[in-house]
Symmetry: C2
Subunit: 429 residues, 2 copies
């Protein structure tokens, strides 16, 4: 067994995994910015109390928490929303409402690692603070949908399951169920599709309900329910309502959400939720010293389930593959066929890089064949050969298998021109 | 005092600080990729033993280390090089040599926070493994110089102080100083410019040396010393030797570096080193289970001193300012002057965003003046007005103060065309 290896549940990002992580993060960033969201980041280490305050004392079992050398109770954050509430309420006067912020960064959980579920993951959070309208909820759901589409995951590949906590509050009031049973009831609903019917029946009976009444209500809570009216009109205007399926079993974090709740699910691979979120109008007051009352809604999307989905979805694979290729490839490899030309080659390499062109070359004298092999290994589009003919240099197109001789003084201009052309190989190899 | 605040030494990244962090990271990434480096990342949590192995038991005093719930000794990494050595040696057969890798991510130290020196910082690491030539050292120094220049920090603003451990090894051998005194001696050299001359003299006397002999040697260890010959030829060919100043007092980490060492310093503000690195040919064997012998060199640059320097350097300020503006601004703000047109506006917003255009708008009915104010606050280049004239919409250029009316069906094409034009305001306001 190796002495040196990663800590349990943590990942190395070798170049291919790092390129995938960057592709996912950059796609999140680009789409969020189209929606007018602005990026922020919180510390990865926070006071353990911050998470206890939001989720209760029992949360510490799942937290990556510890005491530092000064005996402070601190935690590698499991999520970013409590930090966001802390930050936004502390400086709420400095920012115009609604605040539309997004964040991308690592989160941690202390759970037994499983396939596709380690102790560190990257999460994307998008939140709107200071607006309590269904229009803000719609903006977030539209963003989640467009993020998925930007990855090449289409209407055939995923769905947004939507509900609203208020429909259950109304139901419970209509059934004269005491408010102290709400949490128990929502926990039954959360599990209703996975639990044994007889267990559900007996649990419901204890709070004075039957499966038949609950199921009947669920069937009636469709897209025509008044709780969804504004959201439906808004997403219909955007052409996005077809991505939505009303599903009253979506309840999510019990003490936390107050209105709209939604989750993004793939349609073909039965994976865990790709993203989830909703409205949490009471959190900011809870997380601020001076009880700042700020309505809020948001969602989070992790990199792990999403990554599995991208690899399995044909429409997403080509985008992913070209992103990975772009991250590891270079534009041109400089081949030094005559060592006497190395100083000239270094001067040109410096100029090419200064012009933004990605260049590699061999550090020492090597056979020309080996240098061309390195050019292929690095997936270079061009090889630029410095030989005895200097100041004439040869630019070889490694895809089209064509070549041209140019004066070194024109090299940067020529390479820039060639890089503008589409990278197409010969039709017949 | 606030209940909810950051843990001691940790930073919130509000949008402006986050944009600065992203600008720094993206600049590092772009220049490293021009140099043919490929990005990787290691876990932020590593076994404490990994750092003890590299730096000895006494290092734990400065480590952000703790025990997890399973009593594992783990550490929030203070640096990335030990992880790199672990990763590269574990899979060395999978990668062609030389391995040119870079990394960007958070590191942690457990020290008393000072101005500009917290417990979490972002670091850029670039390393070349599997090549022991001065050409590889030159490639790294050139990369460090070009990173600084890409930020707009010029030859007048910074310098690279260069030395080589071997010149001191030769000196000590020539002076017949026993190898067990090497570490003591290098530690004296490291402090020679800051220590009291009489302290230096007495410390040197204990190992059989005098300040006069040492100073005499330092004056002779200039750019014509054979240890620098290849490096000088290489960097001269690139036109970069003028950035270099030989400085034999640069010794850096005592047990770690084996050859070339260098540090990047600003010339005007007397800040701590912006970056530092060198050759560490023995680390890979130390950090691998099967004693993989792989020569290596690299450097690290942090975001904190660099950030201070960018804010103070005139040539860097404009690039920084426009990066910050670009991160928070949008392309166009959609003004809904007639609420009846909101569904049409939402449809167009969806199309504009799908075309990659950054759009914001008000979620609810608002006076037109307030919406234009929001457009200015968001630094939008254009306002797009949906009024009673729909399907005609008005595009207002908020910088040039011009406007045009276009059919909604042509809106995306028109806005794309306008965004291609340079964003220049009227000459007379």
């Amino acid at each position: 067994m190796s002495t040196f290896r990663t800590v349990k549940g943590f990942r190395d990002f070798f170049p291919e995994e790092c390129a995938m992580r960057n592709y996912i993060a950059e796609t999140w960033r680009v789409v969020a910015r189209r929606y007018g969201f602005v990026e922020y980041e919180a510390p990865v280490v926070e006071s353990t109390d911050l998470f206890r305050k939001k989720s209760g004392n029992e949360i510490t079992a799942q937290l990556f928490c510890f005491r530092d050398k000064a005996d402070r109770e601190i935690t590698l954050r499991p999520e970013v929303t409590p930090s966001l509430a802390r930050m936004a309420t502390a400086r709420q006067r400095d920012f115009k409402k609604p605040i539309k912020w997004f964040q991308i960064g690592p989160c941690f959980r202390y759970e037994e690692p499983q396939e596709g579920r380690g102790r560190e993951f990257i999460q994307f959070n998008a939140d709107i603070l200071g607006d309590n309208s269904p229009a803000a909820d719609a903006e977030l759901i539209a963003l989640a949908i467009d993020v998925m589409r930007e990855f090449g995951v289409s209407e055939n590949d995923f769905i947004v399951r939507l509900s609203n906590r208020e429909i259950w509050n109304t139901f419970l009031a209509d059934q004269n169920i005491a408010p102290e049973h709400t949490a128990t009831f929502l926990s039954i609903i959360d599990k209703i599709e996975r639990a044994k019917p007889e267990d559900t029946e007996s649990k419901l009976a204890k709070i004075g309900l039957t499966t038949a009444i609950v199921r009947g209500f669920m069937a009636s809570a469709d897209e025509n329910h008044s709780a969804f009216a504004e959201l439906k009109a808004n997403l219909t205007a955007r052409g996005l309502w077809s991505f939505i399926k009303i599903d009253a079993t979506i309840v999510r974090g019990l003490a936390y959400y107050t209105g709209t709740v939604f989750e993004v699910f793939d349609l073909k691979h039965n994976l865990r939720a790709v993203a989830g979120g909703g409205r949490y109008d009471k959190l900011c007051a809870l997380m601020s010293d001076d009880n700042v009352d700020m309505p809020a809604a948001g969602f989070a999307m992790g990199d792990v389930v999403l990554g599995i989905l991208l690899k399995r979805t044909p429409g997403a694979q080509m985008k992913l593959t070209s992103a990975l290729l772009a991250a590891s490839s270079i534009d041109a490899f400089v081949v030094i066929a005559d060592e006497a030309q190395r100083p000239h080659a270094l001067a040109s390499i410096q100029q090419l890089r200064a012009a933004g062109i990605r260049i590699d070359y061999a550090f020492g004298s090597q056979k020309v064949g080996k240098q061309f092999q390195a050019a292929e290994d690095r997936k270079a589009r061009f090889a630029i050969v410095f030989g005895a003919e200097y100041p004439e240099v040869v630019i070889k197109n490694l895809i089209a298998r064509s070549q041209a001789s140019v004066p070194a003084a024109n090299l940067v201009d020529e390479v820039q021109k060639l890089l503008q052309e589409p990278a197409i190989g010969p039709l017949i190899a």
